[in-house]
Symmetry: C2
Subunit: 253 residues, 2 copies
């Protein structure tokens, strides 16, 4: 029995929803409403002490962190593989996963927090914010909430994050000129990661970096990724984001 | 034919030397002298454009980044496994590897740069430093050299790094009260990672955090790790660090 605790189909939640759907696995979807801070509630922290989504529950075995979950899904359900059989392609996949986890995700996310979470944080009154902060298990997460509730990230921090995203998109464009997907010529967990944390929102969030003129290979790959049946199914999941705040998760500009 | 380009038996180089020796694999050891900045020389950057050690060359196939290399070695040479057969233990191993890569390595390393690399950087004259910086491919590495050549990391940055190391050692101590090794009851790549980036230097670099009184389980695990035959063989490799600077790599206090 598989259960996935997840939020909107974007970023880390999207990254696990795609393989579950692509592999055709039956799972119970448990939506955790980040807008109501459910991930910090005692019932959820009892499942994941870090107070973060997504979380996979496989017959009572709990797996956290999307890159770890996705490798676990390949180990547990090898049919319809998203991890290449060729060990060299597998090394490429892990190289990209590590690069995205360490040099892309947090930098796109910083802009998401600055543009979207900041508005949520500032709509809270001081007491509500303090009550919220008290319940957040990870210091790193408390610090981010304090930052966006206050003066937010500095121009210098945001510019450095943009530079990192620019380097990443340049690397994706180059690789996608050589192979159809990032790790090799077939769809792998590296693509799932890059799409969920950067590809799916790049044109909307960073139009100066990702465009049909500047990065045609990258955006062609985004289109091919979006068309994948598992990606389509994942995208059809609930999105409770206030439409006015959808610079990160969806349609609004 | 396996070749490993590596530096001193510590941190990322140590992390790949241990599995090679533990698995009993024959390999050509190519020592890259970081004290002479050989990792930025054209011959080396032609092999790894990031200008970083370690690099594995397996019949001409190049693998970079120690976590990726170690999973590749398990894929290519499954005998004497350091990746558990049980998929749940394997998920634990990857959880720890990710935690160490993202929340431990850079924080121990910051103290290493502050205490050791800073002295090397400051011994260079301005022209030598500029020549050195010009050849470094990664901006992140150039920034670190500029930082330690200048006023170094701030007290606040160093204190935050110490806090992260303290959290990590607390987690190691707790886990090692439950299992003999980090991911399970047997030696795995998680232990190799934690030992190479934290365990082997913790008592020397952070005596206020790691001691026989405060963290007996952690230091018992360090002793058991040090006694492993593959670790012993790796430790016997060349160490060209100036003895006066060995706060990070070795004997000096």
């Amino acid at each position: 029995m598989l259960k996935l605790y997840h939020a909107e189909p974007v970023a880390n939640s999207m990254k696990v929803l795609i393989p579950l759907h692509e592999k055709g696995l039956a799972f119970e979807s448990i939506y955790v409403d980040l807008h109501k801070f459910e991930q910090h509630e005692p019932w959820f922290v009892a499942i994941n002490p870090e107070g973060q989504v997504p979380v996979l529950d496989h017959d009572g075995f709990i797996v956290t962190h999307s890159t770890v979950i996705n490798e676990y899904l390949e180990d547990a359900f090898p049919e319809h593989p998203l991890r290449p059989a060729d060990i060299r392609e597998r090394a490429h996949m892990r190289y990209w996963n590590k690069f995205i986890d360490e040099h892309v995700m947090n930098h796109v996310s910083m802009h998401g927090w600055h543009r979207m979470v900041r508005k949520i944080a500032r709509a809270l009154d001081k007491d509500e914010l303090e009550k919220l902060l008290e319940r957040i298990p990870l210091k790193e997460q408390r610090d981010k909430w304090r930052t966006v509730a206050g003066s937010s990230f500095s121009e210098e921090q945001l510019a450095e994050a943009t530079r990192k995203v620019s380097v990443a998109i340049g690397m994706f464009e180059k690789q996608l000129g050589e192979t159809a997907y990032l790790a090799c010529d077939s769809f792998s967990l590296a693509d799932v990661n890059a799409y969920s944390h950067c590809g799916m929102m790049a044109e909307r969030m960073f139009p100066e970096l990702a465009s049909r003129e500047k990065t045609p290979g990258f955006l062609d790959w985004v289109d091919r990724m979006t068309a994948h049946p598992g990606v389509q199914k994942a995208l059809a999941g609930p999105d409770h984001t206030n439409p006015a705040l959808r610079t990160f998760t969806g349609e609004a500009s």
